[in-house]
Symmetry: D2
Subunit: 340 residues, 4 copies
């Protein structure tokens, strides 16, 4: 017997989205729908061994395939889509990470341009043990290996951007997109402001784990099987993506220079405290300064992304975003645990 | 008798393009065509008096209307479109400049976010004397007036971007767009790399004059009557927009932080010297460092734009871009001088 | 009976240092010495009530007084000073935080210059409960209060800079200084590269707690009673300040734009893995990308500071910095717990 | 017969200053004094042939020697020193330029850190023809040579900084220093705000010519014989260095990111228009936006420097800086033309 709320999506090759905006809907869904999704990895599945160099096997702009888009019925500009991540599970036993020429934080790039040659291109294949929930790093230039905890997440989730734009799935901005924050793990609700009718939600870019800042530009990239619960908050505007977990409220900002990503995320957090928690603006600025965590998301993409994170337990006991996180959390608890 | 090369374009309301990419062609033109264009000002013509505040009369995203797009026959990714500006003439006797809330270099913005309130919104109306070729500034907060030389130019010219993207006409990037450089005046040829079949060229955002950096975010904005000659260089790639005048070669870069815009423009200039003028790479780096001018274009838009400019007389006497600038200059000389 | 290793320092007014470099030594100490210090708060103790606005009671450049400098016997350029924080305890029952005109991340500043007026100046006085180890926030513009955990730390610790320079105590850079990272708490060892004979160590700027990024520019500022153990690593160079805790290795970088602070800290971490843990360079880059935490320190000072943090348990079991952290940890355990 | 106003200074080796602040005065001079100076090149004269690589022949921090400091009698914090460049003439027939490892705009650096190896180190020796006033570039990797016009200037001029600091002569900031702007040529007056008693003026870093931005980090470096007229403006504050020529007023800003250097220079220009030319603040912002030139000075030093330049002929006919530029210009005209 199938759960009528659940929409199972296993995209055929050729049906992925490569952009936010401009990608035709693969389904129209009502608020409350529970998409059970397969997402391909950022390499479109083409990096399968240490021999598969990105510059040889991947074809720009066909990078970072997104599963979607989903037209959410009733979503209008000025509303907010709430995406609760019920589960995020690697869909294969292997993942890949690489260096990519002129991409990453410790190399010159196409914009931080220099006359220096790019770094060497190398692939690392990671064994995932889905029972023990570990990802195994094996050094390429020595014998070192390490078993690291899996911490699966989606690097990319977003909606169609504002201003008639279509953005590459590699870009993070106000519409979400390739934010690459490790906060986007199972158990959280992501809030995205709607810019076009139907919102046109997509997600992808699964990471078995990543560090904060995603320094070299690539995480432990893997295909995912992911279950989300999608809700709609009518009449609630969300200028920049927010994340809510059981324990934290998290604002994000994406821009260059990185200072601006920080500023955006901090200002959004201040406004969150003002709107939903009753703070005066200067009190909120002051309080966030003393209590906030500021984990970097990425410092490698076309925009950098910063998170501004604050413990709910230190805030007044009030409802935010109409309490939707708690409700979606409960719905997620009723879903069957995904098999493989 | 009409010149068969000339294509007269006077757009109807509702036929402007608001994006690069995604804007349907209003004409297919063969290389060699001479579009004689009307372009509306960046306010879509809505700021007509000191009472017309941008925040009240303009409607985002319907800002910076472009005349186009033009599908250039035969243009393929990897080619270059050459746009020679034969004449750029204000189409009205008045122009407008303004402050715009949270836009400009000497204010916080939506990305350089702060808790400070925006600056006051004010409009300055400029009288243009097209015979004397002057633009008259009248202070709003004192009696000062000044007659400044007109130096008409297009703030925006570009083609559809790469990577399946559609960008707002307010954005400058590798596809050109809203570069806002005073170098884009009559007499120069702009080279734009083709990213999609037909290139999809548009232009707009006429300025009767502007300073370098466009500090407050707004120039002396006016509708233009502009004649360009459009040519196609098959098999010549142009990663970032270039400009050639009778006296200078000019590379551009658009990015944030501004350092990166500078780096892109300088690296492009180095590569231009290497490819077309026979320099070794380090020699070119060295030579450009000692001879280059670096006028800022804009430090206010979503990306900042920098120009890297070098006198041709100091370079070896070689042909660049297949000598197209000289040929288009000659064609321009044969065109009837535009009336009004 | 006094511990002969301990040097008790309670500075008289007029004996604080306001710079790194250029501040005469208040004591010469042998490696192994245990300074038991009083440090004044960043306001030089002048903000005592909500009426004490920084712009009125403080006098530039007499901000951020440092206790020191200490001439460490035998320290030469190319060596490293190890400063182990045995205890960091607020010296008073009250602390202060403020807004400061044109200082902080969510305002224009003297360098991120704008025409906007500064934010209003306000003081928040925090009650510290040293038994319950809490700091009490009381909103100024509403009734909200919160008891937050104390997490005492030093915002500023450093040595004389290289290159004959003298830097304000407000500046963080390669010599340490005003890094404002919450990682600088009791239990950690800070490594600072020596630039001048005797190193000339100072510290100050106690915070009862702070958020990551120190958004408004000011933490919960308080005088401290702090006990450190000072050691010297001859022949070990430390280009940028490092921190070692029982659980983590932490590199730092201080620069603008913030991207550069990130790059410095990440490159230093990569080099740490290569030098002390046997990684190949690209393996280290890759491994750090997948495992690192990147908590921001400050995004408000003259340079921004970023930390790059990695769990020791994931690294090969090797000794770093000659095992000095473990030895200093043991010495700290033998010290009498500070009274008040 | 000697001119009693003229103070001839030919420094002995060992008497140069390497910092602003902290350098003892080599002379006390009264306002109105005319120092006739020899300045050594930025390499301290050690790069004499193509074999003299900076990394081998120069010794950090003994780079960029300054002739000074000069204690200006009567100068107090809050005053302004006016330095009029009467003549700037190369003191030798040769000049040098180089690449320097991890220094410059088109390479990673110690702060824009990457894992890439530095660019190759190369020296270019320039023949200066002082009669024809040309500097001859000879490519190292091909046969190309070019005769370029000499345009001699000082890359570095400054006073002791504020805030008790001592800064390396390689740093540009509010005290002036290594601004590396081609605007600092004969005929201009540079205004520097006084921070310490006596101001402690120094200058050096002669360039036979340079491009805007000084991309590779090095200009056509040469020793200079320079005559300046030094004046003192009591009670005039100058927060950031300004330059006045016969034709232009020029504000400068030095910071990173480059946006901030731009912002500082533009805000200073706005304030100049408000204080001395009677503009309202928003009128000044608007007018400068439409009329300003924004030539980059350097995008390679520890801070980047931007100039904001406006034609005097477009301004109201008023006196600025008490008319000192015109007076110093006249004095300069009475000086004997320097021999060699």
């Amino acid at each position: 017997m199938t759960d009528p709320r659940v929409l199972t999506v296993r995209p055929e090759p050729g049906t992925y989205a490569w952009t936010f905006g401009g990608a035709p809907p693969i389904a129209r869904i009502a608020p409350g729908t529970v998409p059970d999704l397969f997402t391909e990895d950022c390499f479109a599945g083409r990096v399968r061994s240490e021999k598969d160099l990105v510059s040889q096997v991947c074809e720009f702009p066909y990078l970072n395939p997104q599963t979607g888009s989903f037209h959410i019925e009733g979503a209008q500009p000025g509303d907010t889509v709430a995406v609760h991540f019920a589960s995020v599970e690697p869909a294969r036993d292997r993942a890949a990470s690489t260096t990519v020429p002129l991409f990453g934080a410790l190399t010159s790039t196409h914009t931080t341009a220099s006359l220096q040659p790019p770094l060497p291109e190398t692939v690392w294949i990671w064994e995932l043990d889905r029972d023990r929930r570990t990802a195994r790093f094996a050094a390429r230039y020595s014998e070192f290996t390490a078993e690291l905890p899996m911490d699966p997440l989606h690097g990319t989730v977003g909606v169609a951007p504002a201003g008639l734009e279509v953005r590459s799935a590699l870009v993070p901005d106000a519409h979400g997109g390739n934010m690459d924050t490790p906060e986007m793990r199972a158990g959280v609700t992501c809030y995205l402001g709607v810019n076009v009718e139907g919102a046109l939600l997509s997600l992808g870019d699964g990471h078995a784990r990543q560090g904060e800042g995603e320094t070299c530009g690539v995480a432990v990239e893997c295909a995912m099987r992911t279950v989300v619960v999608v809700e709609l908050l009518k009449g609630v505007a969300t200028p920049w993506p927010r994340i809510e977990s059981d324990t934290h409220v998290i604002s994000t900002g994406s821009a260059r220079p990185l200072e601006d990503a920080f500023r955006i995320s901090q200002l959004d957090l201040v406004r969150w405290l003002v709107r939903d928690y009753g703070f005066g603006e200067l009190d909120a600025y002051q309080f966030a300064t003393k209590t906030g965590e500021s984990p970097l998301a990425n410092v490698c993409d076309t925009n950098c992304t910063c998170a501004a994170k604050l413990r709910k337990e230190w805030l007044p006991a009030r409802e935010t975003h109409r309490g939707v996180h708690a409700r979606l959390r409960e719905i997620a608890a009723t879903l069957p645990r995904p098999g493989r």
